[in-house]
Symmetry: C2
Subunit: 195 residues, 2 copies
């Protein structure tokens, strides 16, 4: 037991790392709830797709799933409507101080965001640089440019530099209500241009 505090600290750290994705996700979800109850936008997180294999029906109880597996999603995690515009995005976190690795993004997410973009939706990523505690809205076109070049030996790279975020993405203010006001960025940098 003499090592308990240290062990606990270690454990907490592990937990933090494991749940960091959860934290960004729950900050976005609480923001979406704020948008919903204040009649600002209707944006929801899609449930994680799960393949159900076995279900048991204990008497007088609700159905209990006893065997199931996670499936690969075919879209991003968040979508909805804001001021008549279709909104679609995913959330990413990185511990790096210098860049967001492209391996954080999956091919199906890129393909989906490209389709959304093509059909007139507003597509982006919300990226959390944990070391700076900064949140950025990264426009899809910046993401696509880096993604499409990544296998180019001369121009390609496997990550999007932090400098690119500073120059070509938009900082999202972290606050109390809402937690992450990403629609303010949409107002300023997307919708203002449409007027």
């Amino acid at each position: 037991m003499i090592n308990y505090p240290i062990a606990r600290k270690k454990h907490e750290k592990t937990n933090n790392r494991a749940n960091l994705g959860m934290t960004l996700e729950s900050d976005i979800e609480s923001t979406n709830t704020y948008y919903l109850v204040n009649d600002i936008a209707v944006i929801h997180k899609k449930p994680t797709p799960i393949q159900v294999v076995n279900v048991s029906y204990p008497a007088r109880n609700k159905a209990k799933i006893t065997e199931a597996y996670y499936k690969t999603p075919s879209t991003t995690d968040f979508n909805g409507i804001y001021k008549g515009h279709y909104i679609d995005f995913d959330a990413k976190e990185t511990n790096s101080k210098t860049s967001m690795p492209l391996k954080n993004v999956h091919l199906h997410q890129i393909e989906h965001l490209k389709q959304v973009d093509k059909h007139g939706g507003i597509a982006f990523l919300i990226v959390h640089f944990k070391q700076y505690d900064e949140y950025f809205l990264l426009p899809s076109k910046v993401l696509f440019a880096y993604w499409d070049l990544q296998n180019d030996e001369k121009k390609g790279r496997k990550s999007i530099p932090y400098e690119t975020f500073k120059n070509e993405a938009y900082l999202i203010k972290f606050g109390f209500k809402p937690r992450l006001d990403y629609l303010k960025v949409i107002d300023t940098y997307y919708l203002a241009k449409l007027k």
Copy 2:
């Protein structure tokens, strides 16, 4: 083998009844796939929300969910983007020849569709009258009118009459490719008006 065609027919009929919910859903999903691969629209079914309680990690295998429960969704099943418009709907089936019972629709679906409507999206139900094998696109405003009146002793009723579908909903053609071309209805009755 002499009975094969009859047996097969019976089997199909049983299958049809058991899976009718599934069938309408899969007809819509195959339609959405058609829309996606032909670059017409990006509309997906949302996964069923599941609360995962226990997961085991068998060695060298992927995570196995061993205890989980179905959760009540907070939205409709389908949403996406078509020609820049946010699209949101649910699918319903009825065996009745005279009406669609309102108990087929859940309060959270009505609330969600109302929010979508308010924010400028295109909200509706796709309703299958199985006895006639007819598919209708029921505009949200017709649905809301019946829903909001259902507890009114004088004017209210617990279902939407088939006649109302004939007069105020739009027939969706059932075909081969795509199976249920509901976006054609959107073109004709929604987007044409916007021009």
